[in-house]
Symmetry: C2
């Protein structure tokens, strides 16, 4: 299959717009234009449940619904929902933006240093526009890519983004498609790549109209977030097309440098050509067409090398995956926490394994999972794993959303930063960690359905009650929970916060300058543990350069014995 | 993991017996011996929910139950259920049988010609013992392996075998473990291999006590036959062990030459080391220990080469798979049927594709499945695919269970036989097809629960109502349905039946004697179709031998134009 971006409303210029919709459950479909002037334009039924039509006299900015056998619904591939998830869709002229990044080649894999950012809480304004003022600081810090948490339209204005229901529409409260384009273009001018978190494993519970159009969902599998998307049942070719076009859309029409696929372990698919493999191949082909480097990074809980293995060896061929094991090994050592999944971690040996192979669990029994878990990823490269001391999940999925800065002493923040930034993997920082932000990152929503609001509130409480959590769980729907989670950039100039920021900057500089740290070659590395002294010794080398790093996790100042 | 056969009751000699049970849900477990003398022997709790104990004064033939916190249950790994699925388990001395097949090396893959056989209907007696009298005829026919439909203990005495609930127990009404051992030993003396159909994707609905012992099942996935087995959730290591030990048990203690895995597409498993891959590796290791050739053949509906790809290329490493596409292409051509899945077939080109690649669907859109289906298996060998004109499913899953012999003229039976036996794949005959048996093979059961009986009856009717079937569907529970499905071996001596039998024999002889037909090399083959004349021309060659075969599907006698 060859894919291009064709679903939704494509503005063709000269007042002409092409509408293209998959609605196999409908007998008839019409476009109902509601602004600037009311009109009704019937679409023509094509093969396999598609409806199409080219309509004249439609200007960018026009608002429309689809009428499916008379039922008024927004466009599943809407580019913009200016009035939110329940309102009309808007025609957007994808070619109107004047890009200034023509020579941008995309980042090199081994140069990537991610900065994960939630648009709503990164600045008081909570917009793409407001991020731009901070790009200079990020460049000075040394990160090379910002990774936006999902921006697909979600209900209300406060959400992590994983409740998105219009995969092609850029969140209205963030500044819509125009705002995102400006941000990406400016980032590229600053030499920063931009990655986007996309959710192809479920849709949010509010404003999700997809099931009215076709068999987007299946009840053959269960996911933690409700109905699984249909990637292998009847009609699944078209569901795949919807999401593959979505990936190409972001990379092509927004000049994004890569995507982070949320929770691929919840993508259920038994087909001979798995959706993820097809997606990876389509993106590689598009990167060739675009003539720049583009990446797909997966969040995966499977410890399954198939995710990142090349296609010719039976893998999906994704470029990299998040490495939770590395985080858990580090976090358990730093904090002493042993609850939940931290139960499987806590020794220096765990962290040494993560350094050597990315995964800690490569087939051993996991007490938390109550089964053997994972598989050796060998052979692999360091740039196939993204590592972090914190991220939105590891912070935000704690009952109170505490950052590491409020859990461990200052000196351990420095230790954590060094472990991640001097590792042979691709580092990811979570916004604010570079200066030890103390604000929590809590779970927040702004649904409109009172029953859903109550269900989310209850679900959150019950989740933590299950973890023997006794304190108060912040109310996700309360705006104060959202406000509490905002960054206080001013902190970064003060006292130890400033010291930490400079330490991050220096570590990044070391990483970028020393060939032994730049080459992410797991072969050229020796890892030695001294469990007694709680010291991890890492030696890394390249042709002309060698680095020895001593990580001491001890709470007492001991002079480690060097090997 | 290294596996051996250790679950269940293992008779150690000298009146000693070791009991080994996984029952993580139980607080305490005791063995309740009920014959020859009542006794109670508590077992000791070991790690991960295992219970174990070595008990003295237990003789082979002793009957026992487990008491799980006082609840009386048969052994999940019972070797024998002399009183059926609800009765006590029996201690069997696996070493008592005196084998005479010490020098048997196991069959070579390319020599395999399967004869699929249902023990209950192959003879009037319906026992292993009664099969033995027919082995000479089978050897004369030329098949090299019999493949038994499942013999694991099922409820009652009439069942295809897919309702089995004691995977280690040999069906009592067939003659139990002793009977099966005698059959295998005799087959090996006749130079015949024996394969067994095993069901690792579900358990039957009656007498299934497994869920009382531990998390054998999961509700995270749905299968067509109820709860999915738990191969990737908490506790799944032990579920895997149960089934892997089962595979080793058949191969080791019954000298079987291979297993046919039923419907692996219903084995749900997202783990990094899939159950099927682990099973294949464990079986390969055991074959090395046993120092003979052993095979695992899968029934798969996925058209996914991963099933048969070697492990180093990301596959499960199973030896071969059933090739339904080949059957459907041939059946649709022969009968003109286009209902159900035959909708996707019917051209000579389909059959040509099956000859070239095994699968017909390698990524094309399937109208029946309403999605693209399959993937090219290239590179592969002919001995990785098992092909057939009929099998228990293709005959028995018709509303009235008609064999091909009652659907097409005699000459087409010969054509069908030639297509399968001269193909570059491994042929499988369904018992009786070699002489054009006219008895149907219908779906039959002998459950004891009236509600279940009614549900099965209703399910069967509804299934065919869905296929627009208007005639009467035979009652599965009626003994007449079973009796009607028995072979009439006497037919094979009469008229055209005898002609057909001799034709099969000659085809098999050709296949075994001509090097061009013996080598299952898909490279050394040319397949040409003439859709107009309905002629398929196949040229196969080896170093010193070449064969040209003309298959004419036309109903009129035409002289085909040779290419």
């Amino acid at each position: 299959m060859t894919y291009s971006v064709s679903l939704g409303a494509t503005y063709l210029g000269d007042g002409r717009c092409r509408f293209h919709l998959w609605a196999p459950l409908a007998e008839s479909v019409a476009v109902q234009i509601v602004a600037p002037e009311e009109r009704l334009e019937p679409l023509t039924r094509k093969e396999r449940g598609y409806f199409q039509g080219e309509v004249a006299g439609v200007v960018p900015g026009s608002l429309y619904y689809y009428l499916l056998d008379g039922q008024q619904l927004p466009d599943p591939a809407s580019r913009y929902q200016p009035r939110g998830v329940h309102g009309p869709s808007q025609v957007v002229d994808a070619k109107a933006f004047s890009w200034s990044d023509r020579c941008w080649p995309g980042p090199k894999g081994k140069d990537l240093i991610f900065y994960e950012l939630h648009v709503g809480t990164f600045t008081p304004e909570g917009t793409f526009e407001a991020i731009i003022a901070h790009l200079d600081d990020l460049r000075t810090l040394g990160v090379t890519a910002i990774e936006l948490m999902p921006v697909a339209q979600f209900p209300g204005s406060r959400n992590w983004g994983y409740d998105g229901v219009f995969p092609f529409a850029v969140q209205n409260s963030y500044g819509g498609p125009e705002g995102l384009r400006r941000l990406v273009d400016t980032c590229h001018r600053y030499g920063l790549a931009v990655f986007l978190d996309v959710v192809y494993n479920h849709l949010g519970p509010e404003g999700n109209y997809l099931a009215k159009f076709g068999p987007y969902f299946t009840d053959r599998y269960r996911t933690p977030w409700g109905q699984a998307l249909n990637f292998d049942g009847p009609g699944s070719d078209e569901v795949r097309r919807f999401f593959i076009e979505n990936a190409l859309y972001w990379l092509t029409e927004f000049h994004l440098d890569g995507l982070r696929l949320d929770a691929i372990h919840a993508i259920m698919d038994k087909s001979a050509l798995p959706f993820l493999e097809e997606l990876a191949a389509a993106v590689k082909l598009q990167a060739e067409r675009l003539d720049r480097r583009v990446y797909i990074v997966a969040e995966s809980d499977l410890n399954d090398p198939r995710v990142i293995r090349p296609q010719e060896l039976g893998g999906y061929g994704l470029d990299a995956q998040w490495c939770d094991d590395f985080h858990h090994a580090l976090h358990a050592l730093l904090t002493g926490e042993r609850n939940g999944y931290y139960r499987d971690f806590g020794t220096l040996g765990n962290l040494a394994r993560a350094f050597r192979e990315g995964y800690v669990y490569t087939g051993q029994y996991s007490a938390y999972r109550q089964r053997r878990h994972g598989r050796r990823p060998h052979p692999c490269k360091g740039n196939q794993f993204v590592v972090f001391t914190q991220n939105h999940d590891q912070v935000g999925n704690r009952a109170r959303g505490e950052r590491l800065s409020t859990l461990v002493p200052f000196v351990k923040l420095k230790l954590a930063a060094a472990v991640v930034l001097l590792s042979p993997f691709v580092p990811l920082l979570f916004m604010g960690e570079e200066y030890g932000e103390t604000a929590p990152f809590q779970y927040f929503t702004s649904h409109s359905d009172p029953r859903l609001i109550a269900a989310v509130r209850r679900g959150r409480r019950e989740e933590f009650a299950g973890h023997n959590w006794t304190g108060e769980v912040p109310d996700p729907q309360d705006e104060a929970t959202f406000r509490r989670s905002r960054l206080n950039h001013g902190l970064s100039l003060q006292g130890q916060h400033r010291v930490l920021w400079e330490f991050y900057q220096q570590l990044i500089q070391l990483r970028r300058e020393l060939p032994a740290l730049t080459e992410l070659n797991l072969e050229n590395m020796e890892v030695i543990t001294c469990e007694e002294d709680l010291v991890l010794f890492v030696r890394r080398w390249s042709r002309d350069s060698e680095v020895g790093i001593i990580f001491s996790f001890s709470n007492t100042a001991t002079a480690p014995t060097l090997p």
